[in-house]
Symmetry: C2
DNA sequence: GAGCTGAGTCAACATGCGTAGACTGAACGC
DNA sequence: GCGTTCAGTCTACGCATGTTGACTCAGCTC
């Protein structure tokens, strides 16, 4: 016996999970409401009734959970960045992957990702010394983006290694980027 | 007075240029044959007659010109990588951007990019010393990918700087990645 | 100059999509 | 128990898309 509320919650969750997976695998345009409904053992009409529109379904499925605050000395910041990167490499954050894959063809998704990234970058840039802090935080963002995309989306050669192995190579780069050891300031 | 061959070549080129731009701006699915034809001051039917299908048009528009061979000592390799990166940051390689943007929703485009990237990575990995050469070349690829995407496609904070400024930060990272100074080998 | 070829235009097609609305039956409140 | 609500299903609409084929007319071959 299942109450109506339970049932509702269950199928809504099933739809959301299916949506995240399909958006993450095929992007926004190639993911159809019909396909999501089928994958969730449900019905297109129901998806519409629960989420309003494909756009709103995507917005709910691809909302990127914010990382914790990043603050402290450059060394501490580097450590936090390494921890965040390890996590992003180890798991497959379905919502983030959906947003990432969609961002290149779907402006709304691009905004979601840009907001999530620049939020972090600004925090980092504000606490790094040196005139080129913004540029440095940009390169940090690019490196992170490249690694996550390269591992989860493009599956670049060599990036299928254990996260710790990748961090053994990429970690020192983050340290180098947070340390002020380059040009005059 | 224009000969038929000239005319043909001219509109074909116009279509290809428009296609590259639109594919690069909006991705594969959101670029319509009709839009390409309109941008090229031409006609959808003509586009079909000249290129056969949207798929073939894309294949011609998004073929990535190969970089030169990469070989030499680690230091020389780093130098070649820096030169390649500078170029990729300075210009906006329309064909490559089209392939890059499309690759996240279009498997054929993904193959094109992966082929172009792993080709280079293999060259690099084969000439770097150390057991983790493949992983290192993967991180090099990720960094390059992240910077190009971050600058041209996502427009990350800070990456709108002059290419030389970016290379002042990212160049040393490439050197670090080609030098064997990490774990035992 | 006659006949042919191919560049360019236009209208139509089949398909797949997001979405809307009617319908059914079981859980719910009283 | 009875009327209401709401999860779930099915059908259909309107639209945009890739693609096709017929048509026109200027350049080409002989």
């Amino acid at each position: 016996m299942t109450t109506r509320a339970e049932q509702r919650q269950r199928t809504e969750a099933r739809i959301l999970t299916a949506a995240r997976r399909l958006f993450g695998e095929h992007g926004y345009d190639r993911t159809t409401i019909r396909a999501v409904a089928a994958a969730a053992d449900s019905d297109p009409g129901l998806v519409m009734r629960y989420f309003g529109s494909k756009e709103k379904l995507f917005a709910q499925a691809a909302t990127i959970p914010p990382d914790g605050p990043i603050e402290g000395s450059p060394a501490q910041i580097a450590e936090l960045l390494r921890a965040g990167l390890t996590q992003k490499l180890a798991e497959e954050p379905a919502a983030a992957l959906a947003a990432l894959r969609a961002m290149f063809s779907h402006p709304e998704a691009a905004e979601e990702v840009r907001a999530a990234m620049t939020g972090q970058q600004r925090q980092v840039a504000a606490q790094l010394p040196g005139e080129d802090a913004v540029l440095r935080s940009g390169v940090i963002g690019a490196l992170t983006l490249g690694l996550v995309i390269g591992r989860h989306l493009v599956r670049l050669d060599g990036l299928d290694a254990d996260p710790e192995e990748i961090l053994a190579i990429a970690g020192p780069l983050l340290t180098a980027l947070t340390d002020t050891a380059t040009s005059a300031d």
